[in-house]
Amino acid sequence: MNDDKIRNAALRSRTIFVEELDSNFNPECQQKPSPDFDRKMKKLQRRADHPLLYRSLYKIASIVLVLLISGGTWITVDAEARAAFLGWVKEIYETYFVYRIEDSDSSIPANSDYRPTWLPDGYTESIIDSTGSTVMIIYTNADNQMLTFRYTYSLDEVDWFVDVEQAQIKSTIVNGYSADILVAEDVDCANVIMWTIDDKCAFYISAFLSESELVQMAESVQQIK
């Protein structure tokens, strides 16, 4: 496959794709921008008209940001078992993080099986779904509230997109391993705890539980096979 061949195929494929997306578009009946949208665009234009002013503000904001990040890094290094957390990468992607493992050898055998040995009262296992290297078990209670336990042992193939816009991120420890707890601001959203063990296996539990209950459940997870 040489570059020219890929380029030609890329051109053709995008043409097909865009034709599908704009197939119903009628240039004669275009939507007019709303007043709110107009305001936003004028704001963008104003800032383009005064680049020096805004570049200065940008520099100041950047310095503040660097100071904040530096402080955060120092705290992280000081307070967490950084070595255990190595490889659990959080990429900032607009309003959410991407959790993933990089350069992992993934030495956990494919038939490893994990389960929480403690569950909150009333929850029973209802669904087990195993897809490739990821296993998901859903527990439900009488109120139809779901508790999801998921783990994956082929870390290089998995990314977890985590919405941080509607959640507060806190750090904690699960059996000596660094973990993140996401406390949802929306009461209809479950809280989440995520952690890895020795750069080999990643876990997350999503449930309508308190932080301490999430940690308790996370610490109860054991390899059963």
């Binding site: 383009a48 990429e91 992607y93 607009e94 997109f161 996401l182 999503s206």
Partner: protein, 176 residues
């Protein structure tokens, strides 16, 4: 937001941006609304894409069929981002295999074209930006609003996946 700050510096760039805005606002809104069915969300998507265009105006061509396709796919890409974050739970597993949201008829097309269309959305977008526009990964990361490392990862996966699909479809590699 910091994203406004760098942007358009010269009159030429400003004219280019305004021409793109006038030429494609309606189309971009149409594409976004067609997927989201919500006027405010559609405008938010379009606005986001215009900010990205403004930030990267120097590497974006003036109004042309190529630019038209670029802005449409940028809108689509942003819509897919919204799909991902709007999950009931705070965390959603990202299964790239499930991320192709458009069903396309590609009968009669060559194997490689079909394979690119089958790629997960992000991977396909990176292939397009790289091979059609010649953008490097740093430029792609800025256009898509992602980190360079993530762009590199998507690029690696796109190549691997494209080769897999190509072989699976009976494609032949000329090793010369």
């Amino acid at each position: 937001m910091l994203i406004y700050f760098q942007v358009i510096e010269t009159d030429d760039d400003k004219s280019k941006f305004e021409a793109i805005y006038k030429a494609y606002y309606g189309l971009m809104y149409h594409v976004a609304y067609d997927k989201l069915h919500h006027p405010q969300d559609a405008e938010d998507v379009v606005h986001y894409v215009f900010v990205k265009i403004a930030e990267n105006i120097k590497i974006i061509e003036p109004v042309s069929p190529k630019t038209r396709q670029l802005v449409v796919t940028m809108v689509y890409n942003r819509v897919i981002d919204l799909y991902r974050v709007r999950s009931k739970h705070a965390v959603v597993p990202f299964n790239e295999e499930l991320q192709n949201h458009v069903t396309l008829e590609a009968e009669g097309e060559d194997i490689l074209t079909k394979c690119i269309l089958k790629l997960p959305d992000q991977q396909r977008m990176v292939i397009w930006l790289k091979y059609i526009h010649g953008y490097n990964l740093h430029e792609i990361s800025k256009l898509l609003g992602i980190s360079l490392r993530w762009a590199q990862k998507i690029d690696q996966r796109a190549k691997k996946k494209l080769e897999e699909l190509y072989r699976k479809e009976g494609g032949f590699f000329d090793e010369r």
